[in-house]
């Protein structure tokens, strides 16, 4: 079945004799046991919930994995996979990471003796060079947030395989519609489901998808032990949002291409970062591993003052963190999504103050361009 059909055709209520079209919301904490000493398929919603199970199976299918896991946030999903490591282990991470991930890596993981070293993962030679006997995991985003840098996922997966490392890819900016890291050799694909998977800004959630059964068992063990799974109502909303993933992203991407073109021609704009653009660094690698440029782009204005004024004067782009929603948003990463990056890392990352990140929605592109045009020309 093609992707568009898979999004709407799946067993939405396994075993339910009433056969409802929409997945029932099992808003229950516990399940009655038939006997005092034996459990049915479900016993306690932290360990398993029928609504969540439908979602987890669906995301596993969409990412071409075998098992999926839903978490209460993207950060909970990332925290889960880092807990596969133990004290003394090391993560080799690309330096351009979402601010929340950088905070987890820089301020939380060190407490449990897991260290993170940063590398420019767009340079394969450097990645291989930086692997040490303590390295257990390579962690990247591609395209990265907010600079939209491209990491060669297949080549990185080969390095990971050569050294027996877990390779984990945050696929939030692409979604399974545009990129499938597991097919490229990654061991773990994870998402902030808050973004494109949900698409309507109504759920905070995360998902992890893997192929390997043993790895899946470990992740499940941690999900249950730490109590980080997504609630039933959020699972229901996410299942609902997922059905329009393709049609939303098709429109968003089409709009993004037009907006990237428009911005490139503007005197107030210094540089546009959009993976769908032929001029973008790493474009050919991206084209080989993904099916489109997506709907997140960033650009530098000629001055930080102009950047701030664009964000504040736009009417349709709402100033907001997060991305991937049906409505367009604008942010100044340095002050918003990446304000949590530890200062020692922030200085080396050099995210310009004049950088604006746009997440393009499904509004009419003419309205969006008119809005930006008005902001750029005062």
């Amino acid at each position: 079945m093609k992707f568009a059909s898979r999004l709407v055709h799946f067993d939405s209520s396994p075993g339910d004799p009433l056969r409802p079209m929409a997945t029932p919301i099992y808003q229950t904490a516990t399940f009655e046991q038939e006997h005092a000493d034996s459990f049915g398929q479900y016993d306690y919603s932290r360990s398993g919930n029928p609504t969540r199970r439908v979602l987890e199976d669906q995301v596993a299918t969409l990412e071409n994995g075998t098992r999926g896991f839903a978490f209460s946030s993207g950060m909970a999903a990332i925290a889960n996979v880092t807990h596969l490591l133990k004290a003394g282990d090391e993560i080799l991470a690309d330096w351009d990471l979402y601010g929340g991930t950088a905070r987890l890596f820089g301020r939380v993981l060190p407490r449990s003796g897991v260290t993170v070293r940063y590398v420019d993962a767009s340079d394969q030679g450097k990645v291989e060079e930086q692997v040490t006997p303590a390295t257990r995991m390579i962690y990247v985003e591609s395209p990265t947030n907010p600079m939209l840098r491209i990491v060669d996922l297949k080549a990185t997966a080969e390095i990971a395989k050569r050294h027996g490392l877990l390779f984990c890819v945050d696929n939030s900016t692409m979604s399974p519609y545009l990129q499938n890291p597991l097919d490229l050799g990654a061991d773990i694909a994870l998402h902030s489901a808050t973004k494109f998977l949900c698409g309507h800004s109504d759920v905070t959630g995360g998902v992890v998808v893997v192929k390997d059964a043993k790895l899946a068992d470990e992740i499940y063990y941690l999900q249950n032990a730490e109590g980080s799974a997504l609630g039933p109502f959020d699972c229901y909303l996410l299942l609902r949002g997922l059905k329009t993933l393709k049609i939303r992203m098709d429109v968003q991407q089409r709009n993004a291409i037009r907006i990237a073109d428009f911005l490139s021609s503007q005197p107030g704009v210094s540089e546009v970062f959009y993976p769908g653009s032929e001029r973008h660094v790493g474009h050919s690698i991206h084209q080989a591993q993904a099916r489109g440029g997506g709907a997140v782009l960033s650009f530098t204005a000629v001055s930080a003052a102009l950047a701030k004024s664009i964000a504040e004067n736009s009417e349709l782009f709402r100033i907001s963190v997060s991305f991937g929603s049906v409505n367009s948003t604008i942010s100044i990463p340095l002050k918003m999504s990446h304000a949590s990056v530890p200062t020692e890392i922030l200085t080396t990352r050099s995210i310009p103050e004049s950088l604006l990140r746009l997440s393009i929605g499904i509004e009419d592109a003419d309205d969006l361009i008119e809005d930006l045009s008005r902001c750029l020309h005062g």
Binding site: H9, M21, H200, S201, K246, G361
Partner: protein
């Protein structure tokens, strides 16, 4: 920060409107989405003084947010939302009719509407009769001195027969106090501006395309007549037919993708209709976008798209036609329409089962007629599903 509370709807495109209609934010939290006001009652500031919301049977902020979104699509100042499409029609009738009044109905019309008149309003001495809305002379002749409402469906469920809204509005408005209401469920205001064409009232079952995800049951009415709007709200409060907060919230989320969904529904339906028509197993396809459709010119005149609904008959017996529906794997046999999933039904045994067989056949709703609501699946998968079902029912030979 700039004030983003007021964007003039008239300057925006439909795709934008569907997302940005409601900017009446809860100012306390700046939440990007309207909150679900799942509350029955509201605290009074002082005895008898509220902020406009007293009891959720009368009005509710989340329901009102949905009403703003629908009114933006309808081009009206406001809209009135109901627990179901039938809740909307019955509230409309009870708001404007009295014993002895007459209602003129499309002869091909949703079975639930027929049932409302036959089983309920008939008991209150409301007269009603049916007319072939494709015959404008017949419509003019069918209006009686006591006619108060002309209620039509176009395209009609399930034969897709069209009614010329502009001409029927002119006929209705030659008479004092005759209102024209159009059930615009099959197209929505995005594809057919029935108020702009002269109708007094636009009615929607929001369960269908407006929600689009089979998640809610709901209905709406919209009119430019402010007095009628107030009357509808009063009767809604009296009857208790208002939409629920959670359903309204879900519908608000659904309406955001309406423009994106509708475009694809139309595109996919066009592909499927042409494929069906060219297939020797198919005797007849009713779809306004086909050259063979007798009222295609009218569709082109008053619609902005041909929609996602069609019906067809196979070169087969009723029994074989029903087996064909059962043999489908991707197309789901379920009532309702307008959702992301393709739904298929046999109107004679489902939506129109209350109408006597002879009457049904005369109107084109034959026992073997199949109604199809084309969803957002890749149409190649739908066509493959039809092919495998034909194979199962008829074998390989054509």
């Amino acid at each position: 920060m700039s004030d983003k509370s007021f964007v003039q709807p008239s300057t925006l495109q439909p795709a934008t409107l569907a997302i940005h209609t409601n900017r009446a934010y809860e100012t306390l939290s700046n939440s990007i989405l309207f909150p679900i006001h799942q509350t029955a009652t509201y605290i009074h500031d002082t005895v008898g003084v509220t902020k406009g919301y007293g009891y959720s049977r009368g009005a509710n902020p989340t329901v009102n947010a949905l009403e703003q979104a629908i009114s933006a699509l309808e081009g009206t100042a406001t809209a009135v939302c109901f627990r179901s499409g039938m809740g909307a029609i019955s509230t409309l009738c009870l708001a404007i009719l009295k014993a002895g009044d007459h209602v003129l109905l499309s002869d091909v019309i949703y079975g639930g509407t027929t049932r409302l008149f036959q089983q309920v309003l008939g008991n209150f001495a409301v007269e009603y009769s049916y007319v072939d809305v494709a015959d404008l002379d017949a419509v003019a002749k069918a209006i009686r001195p006591n006619t108060r409402l002309v209620f039509i469906e176009t395209p009609a469920n399930p034969t897709l027969k069209l009614a010329d809204i502009q001409s029927i509005a002119e006929i209705a408005h030659k008479h004092k106090d005759v209102l024209l209401a159009v059930d615009n469920t099959f197209l929505t205001p995005m594809l057919q501006d029935c108020l702009g064409l002269g109708a007094d009232i636009s009615m929607l079952s929001t369960t269908k395309y407006i929600d689009g995800h089979n998640a809610t049951i709901g209905g709406s009415l919209a009119t430019h007549d402010a007095v009628l709007t107030e009357r509808l709200k009063l009767v809604r409060k009296t009857l208790g037919t208002i939409a629920s907060p959670f359903d309204s919230w879900l519908t608000l989320q659904g309406v955001k993708t309406l423009p994106a969904r509708l475009g694809l529904h139309c595109k996919h339906a066009g592909i499927v209709a042409e494929w069906l028509e060219a297939n020797p197993r198919v005797a007849k396809v009713n779809y306004p976008g086909l050259d063979s459709f007798p009222q295609k010119a009218l569709a082109e005149k008053q619609q902005k798209g041909f929609g996602g609904m069609m019906s067809f008959e196979l070169n087969a017996t009723t029994e074989e036609s029903l087996r064909f529906i059962d043999a489908l794997r991707l197309c789901t046999c379920a009532e309702s329409l307008g959702s992301v999933e393709t739904l298929i039904t046999n109107p004679a045994t489902a939506s129109h089962c209350d109408i006597p067989s002879e009457e049904r056949s005369r109107l084109g709703v034959t026992d073997r007629l199949i109604r199809l609501s084309v969803g957002l699946e890749d149409p190649r998968d739908l066509i493959a599903d039809f092919e495998q079902a034909f194979e199962q029912v008829f074998g390989g030979a054509k």
